[in-house]
Symmetry: C2
DNA sequence: TAGATTGTTAATCGATTAACAATC
DNA sequence: TAGATTGTTAATCGATTAACAATC
């Protein structure tokens, strides 16, 4: 299978948001409506939808339920993705409680920190565990993905450790460019870049 | 001036992270080194750098200080960007305390919520204010940008209100596709899309 | 029917990569 | 000098847009 490009993944999630929140009471939606609200070209929308294997009706557009399910199928929302969060600071604790993750197949199973004063405390229903336990818990639960939300000064050191624990995907919320073996996939979450993109006209 | 593309903005912030955290003790860095660590083509790196107006030395590469400052200049880190956060839930409070914002010129001036039980409480050094006060405070402080971190059910309603208050940029952390007049710039922060991009090989 | 909309091909646009002369 | 690296042009690749026949 040809991997779907990042841009297409991004647009498909936007279509999904539209279907879930904006057009949840409609039966049909056309490529023109989607294109209009998201400021895209209508033929681009049709191509994206064709990629999900959905067929429209010539006069009515696409059935919203079909389309929503097809997007979920294409993006793998029903495949559960087990995740551990490392770093129980502001961001880590916010992400533990991020309710939307569940809808997209992301299950946060554990929250780790190094700080003795935090270990043992609860964040929502999650207990903060000592980072030492990651190795054990990740192998028991087959966790391959870590959300990294530690201070920049600790980022590389903690990365080295989680890689040793067998972690294969690191969603990096620190500003540090991490070095890892080629078998590990890093995804750098560049929150500030996103802000600057919004403001670029004023730069 | 031709606006810099989103992709270039993203790469420039990554180069900046490298200079700030990884190569902060080096005097020179070559396009090959940057390309290697970020898995990019070296000529792409040189083009990006040329865009910032930095000249390298044929044998040594680029001076790290020059390059870092030029990126900051190009991306406008020293222009202060005043921001209000609307929604004092987990995410809103995490973002208020996000220390890195300052380094990029983002000043969070106020935090608003609708919930009477939250209003008046403190988050770090910030007081949670009633959303009714946004109009006043944004016009007094010339705040044109809002970070929207409210529940999906309130997203459009609150958006309508902040637009009425004169807000021109909305950084949308909700999953709802917002409708606004064309004079307002929306930037949809699609956190889950980002995760799915990382995991796409496993889809 | 006439109008709206799909599905898809061809054309265009923009971004990346390859190549290489210049030169420190 | 020889080697490394820039700066930049030309070639390629991929993504978007335009166009339109098919058809409900």
């Amino acid at each position: 299978m040809t991997a779907i490009s990042n841009k297409i993944i991004n647009r498909l999630t936007l279509y999904h948001c539209l279907l879930k929140y904006t057009f949840n009471d409609k039966n049909f939606i056309s490529s023109f409506e989607i294109a209009d609200i998201l400021d895209l070209d209508d033929s681009l929308v049709r191509k994206d939808i064709a990629l999900c294997g959905v067929l429209g009706r010539r006069k009515n557009g696409y059935q919203t339920n079909d389309l929503k399910q097809a997007i979920e199928q294409t993006l793998g929302f029903s495949q559960r993705k087990k995740v551990a969060i490392v770093g129980a600071g502001n961001l880590g604790t916010a992400l533990v409680n991020y309710a939307d993750f569940k809808d997209y197949g992301i299950d946060v199973l554990a929250l780790f920190d190094n700080d003795p004063s935090k270990i043992g405390q609860k964040v929502g229903s999650n207990l903060i565990l000592s980072l030492e336990q990651l190795s054990n818990i990740s192998s028991k639960n087959n966790i391959k993905t870590v959300i990294l939300a530690v201070p920049p000064t600790k980022a590389q050191e903690v990365t080295n450790y989680v890689v040793k624990c067998g972690i294969k995907f690191i969603w990096n919320f620190t500003p540090v460019i991490l070095k890892t073996p080629p078998t590990v996939t890093i995804h750098h979450e560049n929150i500030v870049s996103s802000f600057l993109q919004m403001h670029k006209e004023t730069m």
